[in-house]
Every structure is written in structure tokens, then in C-alpha cells.
């Protein structure tokens, strides 16, 4: 109301008041008249017609009786037209007649008639299994939700038979049934429905949403499906689509930000590299901290290659075992972050488990799906370079004079646009007795560094069948992967073209060196052209490195699996599984003649290593599911398993002797050759049991126990390890009979578990290493009285659902402690040994992981979002405390252990600190703590033996926020990930400063010098110290690792089947991207990228390959 209207005085006020009253009176009158009109309506209907559409009849009823008819549009779709002749028939009778043979029924309340689905109370046996059945007819239909969206995967069963199919992406189904039979339709999250067919050939079904998510089922340890309600530990489920929308060559990288409690770092070796996956913090000081991968209930062997841990190595990297899996084969992923969830898998699962369930065939007609994902890569985070100052001729550093025209040299020109083309095809078919799934995929990728390639071909075939009246089920599977990796570089000095490229003297012209080889008349072939020498960094011509120093890995892997399940009685079944996984990798290194002398002789060098890992897993499980005493259900899984792993590595290689570039063992110089032979055979036999007691589906008690007999336990204090776990969960909302819409589901859970870990193999039995063909004394004291490592952990959690399941919150708090770790402290050489093995070390991790899920509809827009939060605090409680030396009786304590690094950076374990603590070297300081600037030299001095703590490489918090927005057939999804806390050291920046190629060094020169203690000192002198040597001074190059980025985004449109006249079931086109944009990042490198996917050597950038930004598109066609 306008202010003026109020302000103009009383007169206006009274006029408006009168007008208002008038309006109200008229309204009331009209209503009254209407009511009066209503009284003239009759309660009977008079109508005759043949084949009249039902909605027209309803209109007649409304007009004649004044009743209002409410019917869901969907209900009337496809209803047969009616024929009726009625005169003064009461409304109720009239409706009875016209709806007699229809699948809809009516209810009259006051003046409103509600039309709803007809739900027959009982179906007499005679009806469902008639001896004289009419011939089956083909029935098609669509299942949609009450919101109008088609439901894919809803189960349609002919009641009383085993005929059952699932609906496709559009909710369509086709089923054979007798016209007098009934269809039972069910779908998770919705109320099930029974619909009598009644001779119809087309049936439209609408399912109503179930208020509480009662029967959500998730895959847990051993591939056993459990209701989410029943779980006493935290399980997070990720649908197969999440890792397929924006495909990554290693699907594990697609999980980043989507799961709480997991820190995922991808390897800097580029496309197809490994991933470091640590759940709830690092537990083991010297063991493996990466999560265990399980596919269809069986664990994968650990197929990681040696990771770089110094300034030199990092070339010729390789992807790990999990990067071989074709993401298209994945139906769903369950992430079990705590050891409680995985006490059934044995000691390797103490670090958490990523459980992958692969696709099976679906009965029904043939389904074919073809996809293509094409992405283009470019470097994401690069340091800043300068082009103002040139270099002195012949010098590799750029401390020359200011250039009149800035140099046009850009290091990013060296990179090419990386590409990744992934083509997949999958076929699924089957009957209800036998289903087959077949898939093939090809990944062809090139990295941003020239001549870096990945070509991977996957094939998989899976057949599931049932016999003996569905009492016996057989599951057979075959998978084959062939991967070829070329020149994957993670970091380091050796064979790293980035070092000469980044540090290239700005006064020189790179084009002179792009012709990297020149004909040498004395040798009669082309040799490397590089006038500079190694400059202390093993530099060579960068174009020579990428083209003539080749690292080729050829990996072939096959997996054979078979499983048999037999239902002895309805409540007990027995399953047996066998799986054999064999991976063979041939790693070849070929260095052409005229490669630098450290790596090759004048004829070149050749190395060939062949490694094979074969893992056999077999188990037998008895599964019991029995209800008793009406309220209780007991579920038990008891079994026994065998895990046998064989590894063998053979290799030979060395500098070539006579013929240049003949890469063959016969040409290798035998005097300088290094033969390699290594291997092991581990076996673990176990017996385990899992028992769950369920009271009325409201209270759940769970207990597990496992006993391992491991070959690595020979000569230790125990020959088997036993570890139990217990847990309980209660559905508070059911117990208190809560029916509020605000809080619809409350579940409280808690569990305690222990996991044991056998010590390293071989160390308990004395062995003499053979060096140069002769045995030599052991470098470690043979371990005596070793005990297995143990992790004890406790977790408590809360699962809440609010606002009619639109909001869900899962919070878990945990505390875990790992002690009796296998500790390998160094000994003083005076003992004659360099180290010894002892049980020591106690590490504790405590933290919180939380996930908030949102599922909202705004009109036709559907928004589905999940926010994840992880917090972990790691603490080294003690290392070696008061170890009594048997010989002298004195006690020895070790309170810190150095893990090594680059010299200026090292990671050390210190009592009271955390795993991942970074220590850096500093500059000399004066008595007051200021950096000491020499009065004569006007420069600083490095203090290479003084280390100070820079921080920790692990994050303080990890936050992820993923969203999926659907509008009609459009879908927009994006993921924002934030990592807060932690530090990283960039030696790349230090060396760049030292060579004068960085923007910071140019700015310092322009401003009159480097700023130290508030004064300017000559830039070159300063930077040659802080950026000098091989690794500079670490303390001057510590950066905060906090970063926030747009991690993933996709925008797609799905063409419905109707667009293609049902010849195609669907076509989806999307634009996809990963690592799109950094909202906040202070480091000159990507802090999430790591060169080492093991536990240590984190938070360090030593000329790592930059992380990649990808942009591309994907096409998915379904037939």
C-alpha cells in the first residue's frame, strides 16, 4: 500500500474500509448463491453412451451430481472406454458399474469422489495358478513414480510364478502373463503394488513414495547385501554412474570429494597413474596405508610399483592394479572407511575397503550400451615464469641483462594437448534362468608431455545362471586387460624434460634444440645435440629425453572367477568361490646411444624386467538367515578362506657394449650388467564368522571374529592371529514410534573392532643377501619375539533423515590406535647392523566424517546434493620407548626417525608429532633469530644441517560438495572440493628462483633486490643460496596446501526414446570437465597431486608433472 494513501488522512481510510466491506459482501453472496445452486444437484446420474472415454463420463457425473472427482492423470491413461445405459442411477451404483472391470476404484468422501488404484484384498489360489490357463499374452507397460518420473529397475513379477523382469531406463517393461493373473510391482523406496491384469495388454503403473526408506540395501563385506538400517558401522555408497559421467582413466580419482573420511591423491604421473587412498589417517609407520580394493567380494592383489622417494627417481612410472578396472563394469561402490566394517577381510582391510560390485546380466531382451568419452587435457597449475631478463651466452641460468624485447619463450609450449578417448560397449541379455553380461572397452590416451601414451583394452564376460528350481546359482566371470604405458613421468631429475624446459635460459632460443639429434660423421648415426651438459640436474635435451629415452610397460592381466551358491533350506545356503588373478608386467627401458654418461654407455643402455603376480583366493561360506520367536532374526555367515599370492621378478640389463641401439641382452656389457631376481610366496588361511541378531528390525547386534594363519607369522610369538569386533545399532525412530515429518528416521550405532597384521615376510628367518655373486652379512638383526601388529578402533555414528527424507545426515566419530607396529629403527653401525626389527610404535587417529544429503524438488527441477566433511587428527603416541638391551641391560629409546627426502625437505616421525610431519632446512640466523645477511657478501648462508618443522603434509579438513540438478531431460552436475590445512614444499620454485627463470626472481631484480629482513640484497646472490644446489633451502619454499577448486562438472541432455521412435532407448550427450578452476590456491603446484602413492614423500614438488585440467564430451547410446 502506498505510503501516500495512508498519509492522506482519515477520509481516504474510511472510503477504503467501505469498499472492503462491499467486496466481502458480494463474495459471500456469490458463495451463498452457489451453495444454493448446489442444492438443486441430484444424487443420481442419468446417462447412456457407448465407448465413451472415462474422463468424459466423469465430467457428466460432476455436472449432474455436483460432486468433484479427483483422479491422478496417470490413473486414467489407457483406461478402456465405457459403455453404459443408466437412468436415475445413484452415483455410487453408477460408479460401480463403470469401474467394474477397470483397475481403478473409487471412494466417496463428502462431496468428493477420489479415484485410486484398485488393490484386491486377496487373490484366491485358483485365480493365480489356474489349471486351464488362458494362453499367455504379452503385456507392456510403464512404471512411473507419483512425481511422474519413470522408474528404471522396478521389479515386475507375475504373482505366484517366477516370471519376473525389471523396467528399463524409461520405466518400460514387457512381460508374458495370463490375462487373469496379477502383476506385483516393487521398487526400493516406493510402496509395492499388485495389479490384476484383467485382460489388458497395456498397463500404466504409478507407485507412491514410501515415507521412510525402510529397505535400502547396500553391499557390505564379502559381497553380502545388508539393509542400511542393520549396519553398525559406516558404509557410504556411490552409484556406478558417479565414476562414469566424467570418466578418468583410473576411476578411483573420480571418487575424490564424494566420500567422507577418505583422502585421495592422484599420482603426478598423469593419465592412468596410480592413486593414493588413505582412510581415516595413516595407521602404519612402515607398512601399507592404502585402502584395500575388493571386487565382487574378493580382494585384489596389491600391484603397486616402486614409488619415487628421492630427488632422482620418478621416470617410467606405472599405474596400480585398480587403475585396470573398466569403470563401465561397475554397478556400485561401497566405501567402508573403518576397520570394523572390514574385520571379515583380514588384516589388509585395517586401512578401509573400497568394495566394488560389477554388473551382471539382466533378464529380458538384449540391451546394448555404447559410450564414447573424449577429453582434452592441459596443465592445471603451473608456476609463474619470467621473460624479462636474458642469459649470458653459454650459461644455463638467466641472470643476464634485461632484454630489450621480452623473450617469447613459454615453457607451456612444450606441452601438447593431452587426449583421452574411451570407447566402451556393453551387452546384457538373459532369461530369468540365465543372464549374460559382456563388455569391452578401449582407452587411448596421450599425455601432455610428448610421447607419453596409455593404451588399455578391457574385456569382461559374466554369466549368472540358476538351476534346480533356483536353488543353485552359478556365477562365472572372465576379465582380461591389456595395458601399454609409455613414458609416464612422476617427478625427479632423471629423464625429466621439465627441468631443462622450465629452467631454459631466456636469452636463448629453444627452436635450436628442437632438432634434438644431429648426424655425427664420426659415428655414422644421429646423436643427441645438447651443448649444455647436465648442469647438476642430469639435464639432457628435453626433446631427446621424450623421444629417445623410452620407458615401456606392457601389462597383461586376466582374472577368472567362479562362484556357486546352493540353497539347502530356505533359511540356509552355502556358497563357494574361487578366483584367480594373474598379472604380468614387462617393464623395458631403452636409452639410445648418446644419452648422458650416467645412464648409458656410448652405445646406449637396456633394461628389461618381467614381474608376475598370481593370486588365488578360495572360500566357502555358510549363510543363515532365520527368524525365531516371532521378533528375532538371526543372520550368520561362517566360512573359511585361502589367500595365496605368488610374486616373481626377473630382470637383466645394463649399459650396452658394442652395437649402438641394439636393445638386446646379448649386447649388454656383462661386466656392468645388473641381474635381478626377486620373489615371494605368501599364504594366509583363515576361518571367520559374522553373526547378527535383529530384534524387530529395530535393534541390531553384530559380532565378528576371524582367525588368520599367515605364512609371515613363522618364527614369531604366535602362529595365528585372532581379531574380533562387536557392534550395535538401534533405530530410535522406530523404537519410540516416531511419526513426525520433521525427523523421520534416527539411527544410532556404535562398534568396536580389532584387526591384526602379520609382520613383514622373511625377517624372522636369517638370510644372507647375495651381492655381486657372494653372500654378505645381513644388514639387519634377525627379528626375534615379534608380535603381530594390532589396530583397535572404536566408532560411533548417527544417521538422521529430516523433512520427509529430503534431508539426510550421517555423522561418524572414530578413534583408532595401532600398536605393536613393526618398527625398523636404524642402529649405530658400531653394532654391525644398520637396523633391527622390533615391535614398537603406537599411532592414534581420531576424527569425524560426516555426509549431508539433500534431495529436493522445486517444481520440475530436481536437486540432489551431498556435502561431505572429513577431519582426522593423527598422533604418534610413541616410537620405541625403553627397549632393554639384552646384552648390557641398559635401556634404549628412539624418539625420532627420519624418513628421508630431498635433503632440504625430509619427513620425520617424532614422538608426539604426526605421520607426515615435514622438516626443512633453513638459512643461518644471527643471535636475534633474524636471517643472517653477511655484511661483506651481502648474501645469506644456508644451514643444511639444521631442520625445523614446517608443518604436516596431511589436510586438517576435507570438504566436498557434489550436486546434481535435473530439469526435464537436462542434467547439470558439479563437484566442489576443498582441502584445508597442511603444507607443501616446492623445490621446483626454489630451483627456478636459483636459475633466475621465475617471476619472483624477475620481480626482485626489477625492485632492486630480494627483500630480506626488510632490506634489499642483491637478487642473484640471494637466490643462488636459497635456490642453489640440488634442492635449495626448504624453509623458504613452504606453501599452504589449502585449496578449493571446481573439481568436476558435467552438463548433459538425454534424448528420450520417443525422440527416436523407440528405436533407441536413449541417447545422452554431455559436456564434461575435471579440475576446471581453482577458487583458492597459494602454491605454485597442485597440492593434491603427489609423486608417491605410498605413505611418505608427500607435500613435496620436485619438478612433478603438473596436474591436468580436462575438458571434453561424452556420448552414451542405449539400444
Amino acid at each position: 500500500m502506498q505510503k501516500t494513501a495512508f498519509c492522506s488522512g482519515n477520509v481516504v481510510q474510511s472510503i477504503t474500509k467501505i469498499l472492503l466491506v462491499m467486496k466481502l459482501t458480494i463474495a459471500l453472496l456469490v458463495v451463498g448463491l452457489l451453495n444454493a445452486n448446489a442444492k438443486t444437484f441430484s444424487q443420481t446420474v442419468t446417462f447412456s453412451g457407448t465407448n465413451v472415454a472415462l474422463d468424459k463420463v466423469f465430467n457428466i457425473i460432476e455436472t449432474q451430481t455436483g460432486y468433484t472427482i479427483f483422479a491422478n492423470k496417470g490413473l486414467l491413461h489407457g483406461i478402456k472406454p465405457v459403455t453404459i445405459s443408466a437412468k436415475n442411477m445413484p452415483v455410487k451404483d453408477f460408479l460401480d458399474v463403470i469401474l467394474k472391470d477397470q483397475p481403478i476404484d473409487f471412494v466417496i468422501e463428502n462431496k468428493t469422489i477420489f479415484i485410486k488404484e484398485k488393490t484386491p484384498a486377496t487373490v484366491s489360489p485358483a485365480e493365480t495358478s489356474p489349471p486351464a490357463t488362458p494362453p499367455p499374452i504379452v503385456i507392456t507397460g510403464t512404471v512411473t513414480s507419483s512425481e511422474g518420473l519413470p522408474l528404471q529397475g522396478a521389479t515386475v513379477t507375475v504373482k505366484g510364478t517366477h516370471i519376473s523382469i525389471t523396467t528399463d531406463e524409461n520405466g518400460h517393461f514387457t512381460i508374458n502373463a495370463g490375462s487373469s493373473q496379477t502383476l506385483a510391482i516393487s521398487f526400493v523406496g516406493y510402496q509395492s503394488l499388485d495389479i490384476p491384469i484383467k485382460g489388458r495388454t497395456t498397463i500404466e503403473i504409478v507407485l507412491q513414495k514410501a515415507l521412510a526408506e525402510l529397505n535400502e540395501v547396500v553391499v557390505t563385506a564379502l559381497g553380502i547385501k545388508r539393509q542400511t538400517k542393520a549396519l553398525t558401522y559406516n558404509v557410504q555408497e556411490v552409484k556406478g554412474d558417479e565414476v562414469n559421467t566424467v570418466k578418468d582413466a583410473n576411476f578411483v580419482n573420480s571418487l575424490n570429494g564424494k566420500v567422507a573420511g577418505v583422502t585421495i591423491n592422484s599420482s603426478s604421473s598423469g593419465i592412468g597413474g596410480s592413486a593414493r587412498v588413505v582412510m581415516r589417517g595413516a595407521k602404519s609407520l612402515f607398512g601399507n596405508n592404502n585402502a584395500l580394493y575388493v571386487v565382487d567380494g574378493v580382494q585384489l592383489p596389491d600391484l603397486t610399483s616402486t614409488q619415487p622417494a628421492d630427488v632422482f627417481s620418478g621416470s617410467g612410472s606405472s599405474g596400480d592394479g585398480i587403475s585396470n578396472i573398466n569403470p563401465d563394469d561397475i554397478a556400485s561402490i561401497s566405501v567402508l572407511t573403518g576397520p570394523a566394517a572390514a574385520a571379515l577381510y583380514g588384516s589388509q582391510a585395517a586401512n578401509g575397503v573400497i568394495l566394488i560390485t560389477t554388473k551382471k546380466g539382466i533378464s529380458g531382451k538384449l540391451r546394448v550400451s555404447v559410450t564414447n568419452n573424449t577429453s582434452f587435457f592441459s596443465p592445471f597449475v603451473m608456476p609463474k615464469f619470467q621473460n624479462k631478463y636474458g642469459s649470458d651466452p653459454g650459461s644455463y641460468t638467466s641472470w643476464g641483462d634485461s632484454l630489450t624485447t621480452p623473450s617469447t619463450y613459454k615453457p607451456t609450449d612444450f606441452f601438447q594437448t593431452g587426449t583421452n578417448t574411451t570407447n566402451t560397449i556393453s551387452v546384457s541379455t538373459g532369461t530369468d534362468k540365465n543372464q549374460t553380461y559382456l563388455s569391452a572397452a578401449a582407452v587411448n590416451a596421450t599425455g601432455i608431455i610428448p610421447n607419453n601414451k596409455l593404451n588399455r583394452y578391457n574385456f569382461s564376460l559374466r554369466n549368472t545362471s540358476s538351476f534346480l528350481n533356483d536353488k543353485m546359482n552359478l556365477d562365472l566371470g572372465v576379465m582380461y586387460v591389456d595395458a601399454l604405458e609409455q613414458n609416464m613421468l612422476a617427478q625427479g631429475q632423471y629423464f625429466n624434460p621439465l627441468i631443462p624446459i622450465y629452467l631454459f635460459p631466456r636469452g636463448d632460443d629453444i627452436r635450436k634444440y628442437q632438432i634434438y639429434e644431429r648426424y655425427d660423421p664420426t659415428r655414422n648415426f644421429k646423436t643427441q645435440f645438447w651443448p649444455f651438459g647436465d648442469e647438476g640436474f642430469q639435464m639432457q635435451n628435453p626433446y631427446w629425453i621424450v623421444n629417445r629415452d623410452n620407458f615401456n610397460n606392457d601389462k597383461k592381466r586376466y582374472v577368472l572367477s567362479a562362484g556357486l551358491k546352493y540353497d539347502i533350506l530356505p533359511w540356509i545356503n552355502i556358497t563357494g568361490r574361487v578366483k584367480y588373478d594373474n598379472n604380468n608386467a614387462v617393464m623395458e627401458k631403452k636409452f639410445d646411444a648418446s644419452t648422458a654418461g650416467l645412464f648409458a654407455s656410448p652405445a646406449g643402455a637396456y633394461y628389461n624386467n618381467n614381474g608376475t603376480t598370481g593370486q588365488l583366493y578360495a572360500d566357502v561360506l555358510v549363510n543363515i538367515n532365520k527368524s525365531f520367536l516371532h521378533d528375532y532374526t538371526l543372520t550368520a555367515n561362517i566360512g573359511s578362506s585361502l589367500l595365496d599370492t605368488k610374486y616373481s621378478l626377473t630382470g637383466y640389463g645394463g649399459f650396452l657394449l658394442s652395437v649402438p641401439n641394439l636393445f638386446n641382452f646379448v649386447n649388454v656389457n656383462p661386466a656392468l650388467a645388473t641381474p635381478v631376481q626377486d620373489g615371494y610366496h605368501d599364504q594366509t588361511q583363515s576361518v571367520f564368522g559374522n553373526v547378527e541378531l535383529n530384534y524387530r528390525n529395530m535393534i541390531f547386534l553384530n559380532a565378528t571374529g576371524r582367525n588368520d594363519w599367515a605364512s609371515a607369522l613363522v618364527n614369531t610369538t604366535a602362529n595365528s592371529i585372532f581379531y574380533p569386533s562387536v557392534g550395535a545399532s538401534g533405530i530410535i525412530s522406530d523404537l519410540l514410534h516416531m511419526h513426525s515429518d520433521a525427523v523421520s528416521f534416527i539411527k544410532v550405532r556404535g562398534s568396536y573392532s580389532e584387526v591384526g597384521n602379520a609382520p613383514q615376510r622373511f625377517i624372522t628367518i636369517a638370510s644372507y643377501p647375495i651381492i655381486g655373486g657372494f653372500p654378505s652379512t645381513s644388514s639387519y638383526l634377525p627379528a626375534e619375539g615379534l608380535q603381530p601388529e594390532r589396530t583397535k578402533s572404536f566408532e560411533a555414528g548417527l544417521n538422521l533423515k529430516f523433512l520427509r527424507n529430503q534431508l539426510s545426515l550421517d555423522v561418524t566419530a572414530y578413534q583408532s590406535s595401532t600398536y605393536n607396529q613393526l618398527f625398523n629403527p636404524t642402529l649405530a653401525p658400531s653394532t654391525g647392523y644398520s637396523s633391527f626389527y622390533i615391535n614398537a610404535g603406537q599411532v592414534s587417529n581420531k576424527g569425524v566424517e560426516a555426509a549431508l544429503g539433500i534431495n529436493e524438488r522445486f517444481g520440475r527441477v530436481n536437486w540432489n546434493g551431498t556435502a561431505t566433511f572429513s577431519l582426522n587428527r593423527n598422533k604418534i603416541i610413541k616410537l620405541l620407548t625403553n627397549y632393554t638391551d639384552k646384552a648390557t641391560g641398559s635401556t634404549v629409546s628412539v624418539d625420532s626417525v627420519s624418513i628421508g627426502g630431498t635433503g632440504s625437505y625430509m619427513e620425520a616421525l617424532v614422538k608426539g608429532g604426526s605421520i607426515g610431519d615435514i622438516y626443512v632446512t633453513t638459512l643461518e640466523t644471527d643471535g636475534h633469530g633474524y636471517i643472517d645477511v653477511g655484511s661483506v657478501t651481502q648474501s645469506v648462508t644456508s644451514a643444511p644441517n639444521t631442520y625445523i618443522k614446517a608443518g604436516n603434509a596431511s589436510p586438517r579438513y576435507n570438504i566436498g560438495f557434489r550436486n546434481s540438478i535435473d530439469y526435464k531431460n537436462f542434467n547439470l552436475s558439479f563437484l566442489v572440493t576443498a582441502r584445508i590445512g597442511g603444507v607443501g614444499v616446492s623445490i621446483t620454485q626454489a630451483i627456478m628462483d636459483g636459475f633466475g627463470v621465475s617471476k619472483a626472481s624477475a620481480d626482485a631484480r626489477t625492485n632492486g633486490g630480494a627483500l630480506v629482513n626488510g632490506y634489499r640484497i642483491p637478487a642473484e646472490g640471494y637466490y643462488s643460496v636459497v635456490g642453489g644446489g640440488v634442492a635449495g633451502v626448504g624453509s623458504m619454499y613452504v606453501y599452504s596446501a589449502t585449496n578449493v577448486r571446481l573439481g568436476e562438472a558435467s552438463f548433459g541432455y538425454t534424448f528420450p526414446a520417443s525422440f527416436f521412435h523407440d528405436r533407441l532407448h536413449g541417447l545422452t550427450l554431455s559436456a564434461i570437465g575435471r579440475n576446471l578452476f581453482m577458487f583458492y590456491n597459494k602454491a605454485p603446484f597442485d597440492p593434491e597431486s603427489t609423486a608417491n602413492t605410498g605413505t611418505y614423500y608427500q607435500g613435496i614438488d620436485y619438478f612433478m608433472q603438473p596436474s591436468l585440467r580436462s575438458l571434453g564430451f561424452s556420448v552414451k547410446v542405449q539400444f
Binding site: 599364504q683 641398559s890 643460496v1025 634442492a1031
Partner: protein, 217 residues
């Protein structure tokens, strides 16, 4: 329900049998699995007198350290010889300014470099000598082997004590995690007595066994 009961018990027995069969069958091979196939065992060292003879190679390779892949390559020689002595005597010059210019060549001793010679003496030479000494024991027919080992040991440790001064020498091999240091004067004196007894043992041996070559095989 009587059929149910026997079913119950038969299930129980089947499972127990299965468990037993799987677990007790092959743990006898576990000792083999946990033995490193890439090295030599104690038993294998008894063949061919390896237990006494083979450690000479180790001693000899560690006096002036040569590359011993995969443990270390030429950098060991550089750290023990070149960067510890040759750069001061003028035999070699620095090719890089390691650690920002603060390293042995500029008289700021780098711990990871100057400790290597100590490591070679006590991880390479002394344990090998100790192994030979233990295997020979008081066997009169093998005292010449011990004498040869003593000579090589003295050659190596004389250089080590020149570099470091007092060393944990006499009580080396006591099995303790800490070994007390001995004065350099005492170590030097012991060299002379060690060499004297070695000379007499070997002269004795040569007289009694002319033309024999004990180290040849």
C-alpha cells in the same frame, strides 16, 4: 523336525571338517614360504666352506668401497674417498655447490657424507671379520684363515681410526645395541700385536703347507 536336527548336526560337522581340512593341510609349507628365496640360508653357507671363505669378498669390497648393487653405487666411493680426503689434498675439485654451497668442499661437514666411512667399516668390514672369526673359532686347521682376515681388518680399520679417532672396536660384536669406544692409542697398539700374530701363523702355515692356495677355491 527330526530330519532338521540331523541336518543341523551334519552341517556343523561339514563345516568343521572343511575348516580343519583347509587350515591344517598346508601350514607345514609356511616355513618355506617365509624363507627368503633370494638369499642364502645358514644351511647353505655350510656348503663349500662358504661360511668362512665368502666373507672375504665382503671385507675386500669395503676397504676402498666399490659399488654393491642394490645397496649403493659409485657415490659411496665418492663420499668415503673423494669428498673426505681428495678435495682437501688437491686430487679432486668440487663440480657442484651442494646444499646451497655448504658442504665438505667449503668445510661445512655434511653428516650424511662423513658418516659413510664409519658405516663401511662397521657394516661392511667388521661384521664380515666377526663372521669369519666365529666360524673359525679355535679350530687349529683354520687359524690361517683368521690370520688373513685379521690383516684385511687392520688395513681397513687403520684408515678408519685415522679419520675418526677413537672407535667402538674391541667390544664390537657383543650383541649389545651400544658399544663403548676405545682410545685410539690402544687400537694402534693392538694393530701391531694382531699383525705380529698373523705373520707368525701364516709363516707357520706356509712352512707346513708349501704351495697351497687356501683362498683360491
Amino acid at each position: 523336525m527330526h530330519t532338521g536336527n540331523s541336518f543341523y548336526s551334519s552341517i556343523r560337522w561339514a563345516f568343521a571338517g572343511l575348516a580343519l581340512a583347509l587350515t591344517c593341510s598346508c601350514t607345514k609349507n609356511f616355513r618355506d614360504y617365509n624363507t627368503n628365496p633370494n638369499g642364502a640360508t645358514d644351511q647353505q653357507l655350510q656348503y663349500d666352506n662358504l661360511a668362512t671363505g665368502v666373507f672375504f669378498s665382503q671385507m675386500e669390497q669395503n676397504v676402498f668401497p666399490v659399488a654393491q648393487e642394490p645397496a649403493f653405487r659409485d657415490e659411496m666411493y665418492q663420499e668415503v674417498e673423494n669428498l673426505a680426503g681428495d678435495v682437501y689434498s688437491g686430487f679432486m675439485g668440487a663440480s657442484d655447490n651442494w646444499f646451497g654451497g655448504s658442504n665438505n668442499t667449503t668445510y661445512n661437514m655434511t653428516p650424511s657424507w662423513y658418516g659413510q666411512a664409519f658405516g663401511r667399516a662397521f657394516l661392511g668390514v667388521m661384521p664380515a671379520w666377526l663372521a669369519i672369526k666365529k666360524n673359525v673359532g679355535t679350530d687349529p686347521s683354520q687359524q690361517h684363515i683368521l690370520a688373513l682376515a685379521q690383516i684385511i681388518k687392520v688395513e681397513s680399520i687403520s684408515r678408519t681410526t685415522d679419520m675418526y679417532g677413537p672407535l667402538p672396536y674391541f667390544q664390537f660384536g657383543s650383541g649389545s645395541l651400544t658399544t663403548p669406544y676405545d682410545a685410539q692409542k690402544d687400537i694402534y697398539t693392538s694393530f701391531f700385536s694382531d699383525l705380529d700374530s698373523a705373520i707368525s701363523t701364516l709363516s707357520d702355515y706356509v712352512t707346513k703347507n708349501p704351495g697351497s692356495k687356501p683362498l683360491a677355491s
